[in-house]
Amino acid sequence: MNEDAIVVEGLEKSYGSVRALCGVDFTARTGSVLGLLGPNGAGKTTAVRILATLLEADAGVARVAGLDVKKDAAKLRAKIGLAGQYAAVDENLTGFENLEMVGRLYHMARAQARTRADELLELFELTDAAKRPAKTYSGGMRRRLDLAAALVFRPPVLYLDEPTTGLDPRGRLGMWETIEGRTAAGTTVLLTTQYLDEADRLADRIVVIDHGTVIAEGTADELKDRVGGERLEVRLEDGAEVEQAIAALAAMADERPAVDDGTVRVGVRRRTGAIAEAVRRLDDVDVGIDDIALRRPTLDDVFLALTGHAAEEAPAEAPEEVRA
């Protein structure tokens, strides 16, 4: 099958007067991970719901695994798995019972559904909790069970709708490792996320979506280039030394460093050693440093760079900083 696993053309969907999707196009190659990146309300979940046959589009065409999401909906459901922010597991059933139920609803024979449930519990490190009701699980464990449920029937196409939203940093990291290690080779994954670092780590290609429109598309590196990569922020002890600081740091960046209220911002080409190099250069010209940090581009930066406006309703997340 040479056809792309997910082909979306001119997808439109409105809820009353609110246009959730205004003609969205994207494709995901078979076996690749496509990241759909955007803030809350950008239309990501609407797109996933249409592709998962939960919602009908007003206009446009979407084909998944060679099947039309509208006309072949019933057939398509045997080829997709859905997991995401809701962690849709039955809290009153045990982990094992949840997976067995999903297997039976895929019309697997009872013995086969049970074997597969045991297999997945093992794979997702839930064997110890297999006999406990899911309501006793931690947030991370529920997400793992939810993802396991989506993989019961080994679907060729997997939708992950904001798989780490609401998890603590440790839970996110664990979930990333799980997604990387557990989705079988050859599975096409559509991942929606509000986090650039998540798309960066998991996706082969990223589609940036805002107000129901695709505003950029490319690999993580291509997008980061457009955002300007990482920035070094240096607050000076003496604001009067700004010009000397710029002169000293200019060689580290392609663009002239910017100044804002006594803080010099430098778009650095290379992350490694950037802080040490900056400290050395400023020390050489006797410019005192009050504070220095490397700041990774956030979703806000992507949106600022791509649209000229900040991401609306973006998550209240402090920029990730590396303190010297």
Partner: protein, 258 residues
Amino acid sequence: MSSLALTLSDTLVLARRNLIRIPRQPDLLIAYTVQPVMFVLLFVYVFGGAIQTPGFDYVDFLMPGIIVQSIAFGGFVTALGLSEDVGKGLIDRFRSLPMSRAAVLLGRTFSDVLLNILSLAVLFAVGFAAGFNFTDSSAGEVLLGILLLLLLGYAFSWIFALVGLYSSTPETANSIGFTAIFPLTFASSIFVPADTMPDGLRQFAEANPFTTISDAVRSLWIGTPANTDVWMAFIWCFVLIAVFAPLAVGRYRKVAAK
């Protein structure tokens, strides 16, 4: 497998799921047992002395009515369960699976039937303890009464399924159930004979299907004049199912999380 066999298999898987959780949610079990018992005791011993039911002991008049009310509200588990499934995204999961579109609701309503049988057993036990007796009724009439009650419970499961699918939280489902349906059970002959009510209310109560069904069960169990109540009661149940089952399935196809 044929699509009918698949629907049946999906329905049983989901009915099993609904029943497994009952003993794990003790509050639901309490709703099924303690609450009807409390109602029987309250009406027989607190209000009973003040209510006149010429020709019958009040407990004999009351039990058919109170069983009608309890069984009608048995479907409430469906409303709570469905609104929870919608809110938690489980309905999204089910709708994304290659399973029967009707199975989630069929599984719910089917497990309600089994719960209603449990509920009936508890109510009979309390009723007999409080002095209820079948009067002038054959075994066939007793069974027909039970069948009518289970059919009524099934009809109300569909009504509550629709309520659950329209409620964003179990609390909303609760308030719809208790503000819309609960008063209807009081404006009927469930607790007191309708002919004691003032004009207006009395006509309303006489037209109320709860009155028809309560009077039908009374005629089968304690030998009150049946008139057309028994036939009408069955027709009411079938009409309710014919109206609310398609509405609930239609809503299920469109329902969304959030």
